[in-house]
Symmetry: D3
Subunit: 243 residues, 6 copies
């Protein structure tokens, strides 16, 4: 089995993580996984939503969106249509949950961090790329909040790292990190979010054509945990660089 | 470990499937799993959405909703708020995908079936109960369409059966079919949709508190496949009864 | 003149009033008038809308809705269309006004009761059935509030009872409690809401085809007051039963 | 009983009907009943809504609206709030039904007439004033359509005339044509739409405080039919004048 | 060059300014420039929007709208479409900015004035007519606020006067105050807002067909300043009259 | 007068024009003017909006948007708020008009080009930067359409070039190409769109504080025409480079 871009089944596409891409945001990352390109910005504000006030705990949330011409055919803007589609909602919620899995709300204190993930160019795996990039922007934003003393000295709001990857079965073969051409042909499609220590935050598998059996599920999970481990390494390298 | 209602970890709540509950719909089921009560109606119309016209293929879709006072505290109506929430979108899409997994579009012909799943009373597992009940309403609607000759003689639009159940880890113990009180305390929450032959259509696991490891994931998958097999049996019994 | 279901012109359809249908709501009634089936839930919350705060007076309001497949042909969900239709608004307002006619706001104190009337199956007279059922749910909710001491001891928020019925002229004959087949053929259509002592809360008559004269109006009002008196008796019987 | 403006209980406020107020519309009337001032324009277009195409029948509909500062306190614009309120919907529907009661759809042919009733100044009775004025604009628009041969020679789309008035019980006394100060104090409020030959098109009575009995209802109906007869005369006089 | 209505290129259409047209508003003007007719009402309320509270400064804003049949062809209501069009937003913002140019926020104190400009009949120049009329309504509203002591004694919230006019190049000739028939044929269209002392508040020129050069721009600016001076005189005359 | 970044009053910020930034769009440019960064994509589709069908003429339109954290403080997404703000509408319309000024609709044929201008980072002058960048993307898209034979051989849909710049008066000094810090302090703010031959397409001047006189207006127009000429040169250089 040869993949269209010559990768092996368990190989990621080339990944670049450009920190500090925006001058305004407290954390900002332009991440690319192959031709998928997502701008992730983290905005820190003091205070929390009303339902959380007085709890002493912080909040982290995310909003995902795609530029109209990020894709091969131009899509309508959701602002013009006047409502957010189900897919956008679903992905925004997934990103938020994934990041909150590595947040200690008490340590964060009553601060809110919003992650905006805007897909500038799409070629498969936009939601997983968004999670992976947003984590890095979040880490930078938290470092900023610590430097500004918004977070109390000695507190560590981040309890771990998180990254995500897509896997799928194409022509009967389990593959890591699907490009768009692979994604549309996949019989099964799965998005997996893992922490840096190899545990699962989200497992979302969907049979697009044929239902999948336990053995296939296991093969996909193996690929995904490997891919997430590779991404965790790239995140660490990016964050170790001085801005 | 004793559960609040005395069940064992791998035991479903009592299930009732009342077919033909509505006089207007081509298929209609009032399903209850414990205190969760969902009215599922299947509406058949000739023709398909514009993007599918002329394909010779049918379409199946679903809409999920909750009555304002299905829950312990009254929620605002989405019609009054003027937009559908992310959760509602996500669940409607899940139900639609689950049912389409057992549909042969060619055999269905250019007919559309809409499954409306309205939660009349909620006590955990509303989306999985909706899938399980909607399958039965769908089967009745297809039988109706066959009797009316909307489906060509000899064609079988249904390629299998589908049922769904929730599983979760509560206080470290994997449990089947969570009630609301268990659901809010679960560290990990998973919804699993299976076909009658035991394969997976959807696996959606989320770490609510702690990330989960591969062993826990396996335990949850074991519970879920067992629960879905039990539900498949109950669906068959319900459909074998003459209306 | 024989009616399609054999009733005399001044005869109601069979009515059933099932109290306590929902476990969460403070009052809940599944009412059926013939094949029209409405779930009425009453939700009590402490406090009142902002414009009424500090007045010492309570508030009662209602929301009416129809499930998409309550009718013979599936209708779009108002939540999906993103706005509530004129008919829904009009009926919600009618139900609210009807119930408020028997409420002593001072005695209720600063509590709010919302009546949700969801039509599960429609066969004519859904708005009048909703009023009749909602009154019973409201009575149960007020009893609950009294038991919980939300209402001061000795205060009686309910000043009377209220019920509603439709009447119309079909082929020149005035008829009580129209079924859908009768309703669509009616020349004149009237909804009447009466208190238990036979006075009017609402009279809404509309000439669908021919304008109607004073004599016809009088005949319709006679039928309606008779029908409301019958319904008041059934409400009393239902409320006299121990739950 | 003396009324604030010195009228007797059965006396209308001064009415002026200014035809041809707008240069663009096919029919246009600025009507005032006391200080209530409504601009009614009738717009004729060839063709009918999709659901009526090919029927050979026309359609008449209405839209009611109030300028933000028509009232004593400025109200938000419905265009700014992004949705039409229940009251506006209800009144638009009432006006449309009232006018359709005197339309012969076949004679109108496949033409649509939209009546826009915009309240420029409000002092009670805006919906009934709108009906009364809209009828005159409608008559002018139909005359225009006949002159333009949009309506076939010899066909009479108008089968009669229609006018409306409000009545109510204030301090126990039934009164005709309530001003705002009377309206807010009314125990019962009723809007009545009559044809020129004295029959009813709409009767909408609501107990604002106390339920009303049959005798009170009769007194109100007597007042209303008298008021509508007076208005019908004024409409005829206005239409008899050459523009 | 003869204009359709016989005017010279630098001549305004006949202008009438009817103050006190509405009984409810603190300031109200029905202004007509030729057949363009706009009702401008000014509503004064104590207090300011949240973002301005405690500043000691007031606020002035405007909303522009057109009745559906103000134009030759009926337009949809923005309230029915559920959103405000770009053109409406743009004009509302222009009117608000124009009036704020002659307001001393400190002198106004924490009061808000909303100008509603509703076009009852349109024949070109609706936005400029709205500015010119709204200024007069604003002046009356401020006088009212001064009389009511909402504005502190001796403070003058108005720092000058403001008026607006449209100019354009039609068939190569610069013209003042375009009617609709001229406007649609204009190669260049410009709206100019001037203070009474001849300075500019807004200059908005748009090439509808051919780009325009500096010389043409100068000719248009000359015409516009002349027209605004004429309008300023008419405003002064209107305000000098006792209401 | 020294500017914060050391520029002279008549000096542009550094401009970079990166063509072909996106792989999907027919034309795409990432343009930066100082720290203002806008992604402009041009999408070509065959066919035109309904109101233009059969005319043989094409259409060009634009949509402007800002990422939530393009600015110093995060703004709400318009898709989340459910409606597009007045400012966004106004700018989208300005960009569309500016580009259409250099389009020969007949030569374009029945094709539609949509320019999406998404501000990735904002530091003043986002709308003028969008116009300048969108022109380059438009030119590339037209070249693509010519190569694909969507445009007939020998036809030149582009009749010229167009660029835009902001000017303003800060502390009494007219300045070219304002940064955000200058913009917020400007007494007068003007956006000017010019064709490559130095004529005006749009002139939009607004007095933010003091009204401006004719002399100041002339000084601003001089600066703006100079700046647009510089930008036209940079556009030409960018387009002369082989992609």
């Amino acid at each position: 089995m040869t993949r269209i871009d010559g990768r092996t089944p368990e190989q990621l596409r080339p990944v670049t993580i450009h920190r500090g891409w925006s001058k305004h945001a407290e954390g900002s990352v332009l991440i690319s996984c192959g031709d998928t390109r997502v701008l992730c910005t983290a905005s820190v504000t003091e205070g929390v939503p009303r339902w959380r006030k007085g709890s002493g705990e912080g909040w982290v949330t995310a909003e995902y969106s795609m530029l109209p011409r990020a894709t091969n055919t131009r899509g309508d803007r959701e602002s013009v249509r006047g409502k957010i589609g189900g897919r956008t909602h679903e992905i925004s919620r997934l990103i938020g949950r994934s990041l909150r899995a590595v947040i200690d709300y008490k340590a964060l204190g009553e601060n809110t961090i919003v992650l905006d993930c805007d897909v500038l160019q799409a070629d498969g795996g936009t939601r997983t790329t968004a999670v992976t990039g947003a984590y890095v922007a979040l880490a930078d934003a938290i470092a900023w909040a610590q430097a500004k003393k918004l977070v109390k000295a000695g507190r560590k709001p981040l309890t771990g790292t998180v990254a995500a990857v897509s896997v799928g079965i194409v022509d009967g073969t389990p593959l890591l990190d699907l490009r768009y051409e692979e994604d549309v042909r996949a019989e099964t499609d799965m998005n997996v979010v893992c922490t840096g220590d190899g545990r699962f935050v989200e497992v979302q598998g969907t049979a697009e054509a044929e239902p999948f059996d336990r053995k296939e599920l296991n093969a996909l999970l193996d690929l995904a945990t490997g891919g997430c481990a590779d991404l965790a390494l790239l995140q660490r390298q990016a964050l170790d660089t001085t801005l």
